[in-house]
């Protein structure tokens, strides 16, 4: 057997109050296609997401090559391999363009191939520059499937491709195309792990793994022709922060939440007339930095946006982390502190502007972390993260007392 790219060792995973996987061990080597089979609820998606290091385990560990990427102690490490991932949901934001999403997925491998033949094969060429939100469900699924396969096509080294029901919503012709690409990737030495109910995909697997029974069965797929690697060129991987900033700038979601909170706070102060002269320096500093604090206290609106089609989970699987606003809060904080000092009639001092920028950055990302900490829950929107934000008032109080 080829060297194992993926090893699950004695894994136990619980979802809700049920133990879904118990003592599950599975190995997938290069040039292998392992199809996960079993009834609905048997744990195929759970196994796949555990293999990607997305789910916590009660026992056991997951290795990618020789690297333990996740274990029951909660330790996490980045996979040494290029990873392609298709979740049950599409893992894309509606504000991404089709070609942009595919290029970005490929960039995770550090290489890129020409996407035109793939788009043509899926009859998506005319949609290359459309937003994902403008696609039909079937078209969006095709893009998600391509985003899972293309990193492996671009990767010059063996890649690990995990596909969760990639056939869902695809027409017969597209499934035939998908089966051809699976065979091609297999002959190129990549490892594929697929959860499916579709016989057309199962017959091309080299092994079938019944998740409910924890049983492996060797399969003999039809012989495929040897595929040549497609010409690829090196590209710089897109970081979660770069993607987050790009989405913030494109959708202006920060304007709707953070900036509005800051503007409303400042507007409220301005309606109170010339009151600043009657205040001592500590109170003045408090009022100047309050709109900036309000901006930060709204957190990162990208966290809620990334719940769309589990885009955040897809990013964790392939990009090593969830996208975030990166440096943007620094700029927004500086702008708001400048606006605040001007609006409230105070002198524009560089150290105050800089402090406002840092305050906004720290508060924004702290609240963002609080928001992300609930993403694993069944109903993250039902948790009152705002109740935790007063923890940031105290450092704010200390900061303004130091500044004044």
């Amino acid at each position: 057997m080829a060297k194992a790219l993926l090893n699950l060792v004695d894994v136990q995973v619980r979802r809700g109050m049920n133990t879904v996987l118990d003592g599950c061990s599975l190995s997938v080597g290069g040039a292998q296609i392992v199809a996960l089979t079993g009834a609905n609820g048997a744990g195929k998606s759970t196994l796949l997401e555990t293999a990607a290091g997305l789910l916590p385990m009660e026992q056991g560990h997951v290795k990618h090559g020789e690297v333990v990427v996740a274990d029951a102690e909660g330790r996490r490490r980045t996979s040494p391999f290029t990873t392609g991932m298709v979740l049950q949901r599409n893992g894309m934001l509606g504000s991404e363009m089709v070609s942009e999403h595919l290029q970005m997925a490929m960039s995770m491998s550090g290489h890129s191939v020409d996407i035109a033949p793939f788009l043509k094969a899926f009859n998506l060429m005319h949609r290359a520059n459309d937003l994902v939100a403008h696609l039909s469900q079937g078209q969006a699924r095709k893009v998600a499937v391509l985003a899972g396969l293309l990193p492996a096509f671009a990767s010059p080294t063996p890649a690990l491709v995990m596909l969760d029901e990639p056939d869902a919503g695809l027409d017969d012709a597209s499934i035939e195309t998908l089966v051809g690409w699976m065979g091609e990737l297999c002959t190129m030495g990549h490892a594929l792990l697929i959860a499916t109910h579709d016989e057309r995909l199962m017959v091309h697997a080299t092994q079938l793994f019944d998740v409910g029974q924890n049983e492996r069965q060797v399969n003999t797929p039809p012989a495929g022709k040897k595929a040549e690697p497609r010409p690829s060129r090196p590209v710089k991987p897109l970081s979660p922060a770069s993607f987050g900033v790009r989405m913030h700038l494109r959708t202006m979601m920060w304007l709707n939440t953070n900036a509005m909170a800051g503007l409303l706070t400042l507007g409220l102060f301005l309606t109170m007339g010339d009151f600043m002269e009657e205040l001592d320096s500590l109170q003045q500093m408090g009022f100047i930095l309050a709109p900036t604090l309000a901006v930060g206290l709204c957190g990162d609106p990208l966290v809620a946006a990334l719940r769309e089609e589990r885009a955040g989970v897809w990013w964790r699987a392939v990009g090593g982390g969830e996208p975030h606003a990166g440096w943007m809060p620094l700029a927004i904080g500086a702008a708001f502190t400048l606006l605040s000092t001007t609006g409230l009639g105070n002198a524009r001092e560089a150290h105050v502007i800089l402090t406002g920028a840092v305050l906004c950055f720290v508060v924004w990302h702290c609240v963002g972390w609080m928001q992300r900490s609930t993403q694993r829950l069944a109903r993250p929107h039902a948790v009152f993260v705002g109740l935790l934000t007063p923890v940031l008032i105290l450092p704010y109080s200390i900061l303004i007392s130091v500044l004044s």
Partner: protein
């Protein structure tokens, strides 16, 4: 009546007695030392409530750690009981403190006082944990997330303790167990002791009842799950 409810009832009676003693029997404080001497009687409720809240937050911490590291159902029930008891007594301490602060200092809250704020944050954390947990279906994801917050919250306890001793801005420092002899009158100390014991009994009863209730909820869920066919 079950043991938990009996202990709860005894504690509640003791709290009532403390209130009566505080209002009718405890000596008045010096009119020169306090802006609002009458409001000082809240102290007999406020301090034991804060003491009981620390016990509850301790239980929350132990329960959270026990769930995260041992996966113990009993520890999870302790987490639930600790958070609910911490919420109840934390709100009592915060509310009574605000009333006293408004009368004595002229303001119910001071954002620059570390001790006030760290205790307020503990109470907010208890609200967050109780409301958040009730909004979610029971499961390892829910338990892991809120147990992690339970551990995080306990970091605030030593911070608050240290703050009472070295970081006092507006809130007074400790009046008992200061190491340099008690600074309060013996009758006052007696009422305070009765309050502390009553609140401790109350919190123990509250947690016992709460743990039994959680166990019953878990049993009910298992029975429903079995009726669903185990799917």
């Amino acid at each position: 009546m079950r043991l938990g409810e009996t202990v709860l009832f005894v504690g509640f009676t003791g709290i009532g007695a403390t209130l009566l003693l505080a209002l009718l029997w405890a000596p008045s404080v010096s009119i020169n030392a306090f802006e609002s001497p009458a409001a000082q009687r809240i102290f007999y409720w406020h301090v034991p409530a804060a003491w009981a809240a620390f016990i509850a937050f301790g239980a929350l911490f132990v329960g959270s750690a026990g769930w995260l590291f041992k996966r113990s159902e009993w520890m999870w029930r302790l987490h639930v009981a600790g958070s609910e008891a911490g919420l109840a007594t934390g709100l009592m301490a915060v509310w009574s403190g605000c009333v006293w602060g408004a009368a004595e200092w002229g303001t119910p809250w001071d954002w620059t006082d570390v001790r006030l704020n760290s205790f307020g944050l503990l109470t907010l954390l208890a609200i967050y944990v109780v409301l958040g947990r009730n909004s979610q279906p029971d499961g390892v994801e829910t338990r892991d997330t809120f147990a992690a917050f339970g551990l995080y919250g306990f970091v605030l306890v030593p911070l608050t303790y240290i703050a009472t001793r070295i970081w006092t801005i507006r809130h007074p420092g400790p009046v008992v167990a200061t190491g340099d002899g008690s600074s309060i009158n013996s009758d006052m100390g007696l009422v305070l002791l009765i309050g502390a014991v009553s609140f401790t009994v109350f919190i123990i009863g509250h947690m016992m009842a709460s743990m039994r209730l959680t166990a019953l909820e878990q049993r009910l869920e298992r029975m429903q799950h079995n009726l669903d066919g185990g799917n």
